[in-house]
Assembly symmetry: D2
């Protein structure tokens, strides 16, 4: 199924539990892997530790940065690093032309710097194949949180899903599979119609205020302030809100707390609740991204080098 | 739910069994309905027969043509008409400005004539809310045909759905709900990923040739020649093909027959298998279309007349 | 999975389309098959025609009679026979001791005659593994009939299933999988509770009269007069009744007709709608039945003969 | 739906979080409720505290003991009691004739003592309507525990359910609804066949040893040592075992630990994971039990007293 990565040198830079499962998968496909930021992890099959980010970058044909990229100061998310790993100008300058930088979300500053320096940045979090498959661990994590916080079962509950996008559909379908009475809230006629077809009670956002009162569970996926004061006033005190929209979520959490409504912000669930499944998704997508990239850099020295190494082994 | 049509005069022109159920629904919403082409039907609640198309057109604020529109000579599909009803230049000229012509599919000739004459044509077959909801009777009709033609059950069968669009998803989900092993065949990574999430075995069209051999049932939804000679050669002689793509379908039917494979073309199922459900869909969508149109023609004489009539009653 | 039938001689006597698929399956497992009553069928792989029932009986270690057994005069159901095949006293006397008579339903007369003559009759229609698996083609057949007779879709319909037994559960689950609003009608608290768990609206028979009025589809599985005049009076004129209980069904069909309600009796669907699937069920169950029987007749001459033949081949 | 309890005095004795939700429900149905063992709980609507068990017993027409009854020394499970409540001989002697003792599980000693003293004990844990509906919170709790302990998703996992009884079916159906590949392990042909019908991979216990190796999640429901050393040797080190059979479960937990396999015993989940849903189940069942009991004690003084009170209010 997955393509061979024979002869390709990958630098895996930081990340979370996902990378612990991802590295052996990529190694099995034939890649040579150098990593930085795994000092505190248990030994990982197929990983060659680099002494610094610069050193890792210099050795690689492809750079794999974590799903959550960097913080505003350029520090790379690296759960198992002993010291901060910083993606600064010096490092960027050390990246050879034609070496792609694969990353989940890239901050605007990184994107503009990379563009100026001719570095190809590939953001994976927006790829449908990553985002939709990642919606599965997200949905399970969100539902698990909802179960842990409630005194009732999902089965038979009134469960509202705000937003029928990549995450919303998966949450809605899973809840329905568990026996909940699911209401999907959307705006587009296509989504309203599809929800009806799937046996999900379809509701337009404009009718949410008058219906939300019967919700036992509310799952928000929309990265805008949806559950504002006005809506929260209608929500039952016994309801549980799980918000998986990216930070800061779509809920007025302070006001929810004031009203005594349980509300939790839970972005980034895949790497936490099911790192192995999340790693498997990346292990399916990365090789194809990498090979597609190599095909676009025909006749370059990198490609020739890779070819040589592929034939050697 | 549905908006009031009080004071609005609708001309319903031809159609099939759907219109028999649609007319009473629209009448219940308050519309005055004049119809043409229902001479052979049993009496229909709320219908006022017009003596000719011209006469009907002259009385109406909105014209409702059938889903299947006209044939290449302008003859309107009208299952219950005693004589051919023709949409010709004379009729078009009789249509007042601001009177919209609502129709399923409009032929290019009709569209260009209407544009020249300033007539607003609203095609409904392409509206998501119509097409997705119509996919339900289509899917049931296609599956029912497949069952009638086969010596095995849907449950436990290998069922392939070619194309995961508005119809494909519905067929796939219904088959899965009945216990089939469903393979969804698509091209877009988003569709492949979503199929996986839904528990549908996802297949890229490029791998179809080597997998199709295990299919018991094949449902085609793609309006292009997909099941060509090369693919049909791989299909089991016991398989059943149901093709619901619009005429001429996506199957080389002659070659299938030559190979002894059962293959059926079945476009336009909603009006045949479940006219009442299909009418209900239209009865949900039309009022909103009509009212939205009336809002766009503010301050016109038609709108004023309608307002007067709405207040009178 | 299936056990070997090597060295075992089976007589297949009459039947319907199922047997056309069953015989090659049994032959593949190694059985030698002699058949009677297939003169009008196309050639069947692995079948050796016997000239008469007596001749077939004399050659066999095991007798396979059809699912529907015999009529009241002893005539064996045999769709592809050129002449009536009668199971009379002479034939019964020709059956050697230890040769089991496997049959779907045996009439009381046959059972008592067999008992007197020391013939082991194995009725398969009451075996859970046969009855539950047969419920799948039955359910699909019943639903297909309902679809053909209705102007609405199963999806979104109010569908009632009377009796939650081996057939009822399957019909209910399939309808739910297709998107119907399913009401399961039962008496036992266990069934009511299980229906609730499965997302099926549970109803006690004592409440049926006041609820039946909202049914679009009614599937009866109870072999007693359930849909009597009193209940039928409450049923909508647009409803469709499919009764799969054994003849005469559980519906007052005459009264239904009088009221203008569509009602169909449809027993014995598996052999009609999906003979190949139904044959596969029997091909799974018969070998185990046969081998279990052979193990119970240890040290008899038949068993020894079979063993010799098994080793020879 | 639920019957009126007007005029009936109930003693609720101990219990867990369920009783906090159960008491207000029963009070809403009209019962007068006296409770013992709720000193540490927040105020409960409709509860009148008794100063001792004896006092509570003396005031009541019906006694409601907790689901988990008493320990071996007669101490009643009472999460919110300030001091141990003991069901001793003195208390039993204080129970009037015709006052039923409703309890989840009664120990043999209690049952024999009650029988000798003519006290009617009604065990509810074995009632299908309680056990099957309780299987819903049990299943959700077990699945939630499995999710919390695993690095993979339920979706796409190989999940084994050992035992297809009241709990097993619910776990299997829920897992399937979440997208797992479910294998149901059973012994009875009826269960094997039904699993097949439901789209669950059916496996006989005799084949478990050779199949268990591929399981990611194993849910045991059988109260016998099923997962013994021999089977555990075959289980993947990455698998997660959740055992919901009553104590001591069906797993050799020590050996599992030795092998490094995560295994958890989790009996009694309903009252822990979803006390409100579990209370709702009891609130549906108890009124019917109570009224049925009252009907059996026609013409007794208790019944007459209740009738008088019912009319008074």
């Amino acid at each position: 199924m997955s393509a061979s990565l024979k002869g390709i040198r990958l630098a895996v830079i930081g990340g979370d539990d996902r990378e612990l499962f991802l590295i052996p998968e990529l190694e099995k496909l034939g890649a040579y892997i150098v990593g930085v930021g795994f000092e505190k992890a248990a030994p990982i099959n197929g990983l060659n530790h680099a002494s610094s980010l610069i050193e890792a970058v210099k050795q690689a044909d492809v750079l794999l940065f974590p799903m959550y990229g960097t913080d505003e100061r350029g520090v790379i998310k690296a759960k198992y690093a002993n010291y901060p790993i910083v993606l600064d100008r010096e490092v960027l300058q050390a990246i050879s032309p034609h070496v792609p930088l694969i990353i989940g979300w890239a901050r605007p500053a990184l994107k503009s710097a990379a563009e100026m320096m001719g570095i190809r940045v590939i953001e994976t979090a927006f790829l449908d194949e990553v985002a939709i498959l990642n919606s599965i661990p997200s949905a399970e994590g969100a539902i698990s949180m909802a179960m842990d916080s409630s005194v009732i079962t999902i089965h038979g509950s009134q469960s509202f899903v705000l937003g029928l996008g990549r995450n919303g559909w998966t949450i809605a379908r899973t809840l329905k599979g568990m026996g909940a009475q699911v209401t999907g809230v959307a705006r587009k006629p296509a989504d309203i119609a599809r929800a009806t077809e799937m046996g999900i009670n379809a509701l337009h956002f404009s009718d949410l205020e008058k219906e939300i009162g019967r919700a036992d569970f509310i799952f928000n996926t929309v990265p805008q302030l949806i559950l504002d004061k006005v809506l929260l006033e209608q929500v039952s005190k016994d309801a549980v809100i799980v918000d998986i929209a990216s930070i800061p979520g779509g809920t007025d959490f302070e006001y929810a707390q004031l009203l005594g409504i349980k509300a939790m912000l839970a972005p980034g669930l895949p790497g936490i609740v099911a790192p192995k499944s999340a790693a498997k998704i990346l292990a399916q997508v990365y090789p194809q991204l990498i090979l597609r990239h190599l095909n676009t850099i025909m006749n370059t020295s990198i490609r020739l080098e890779v070819e040589v190494r592929r034939n050697e082994i």
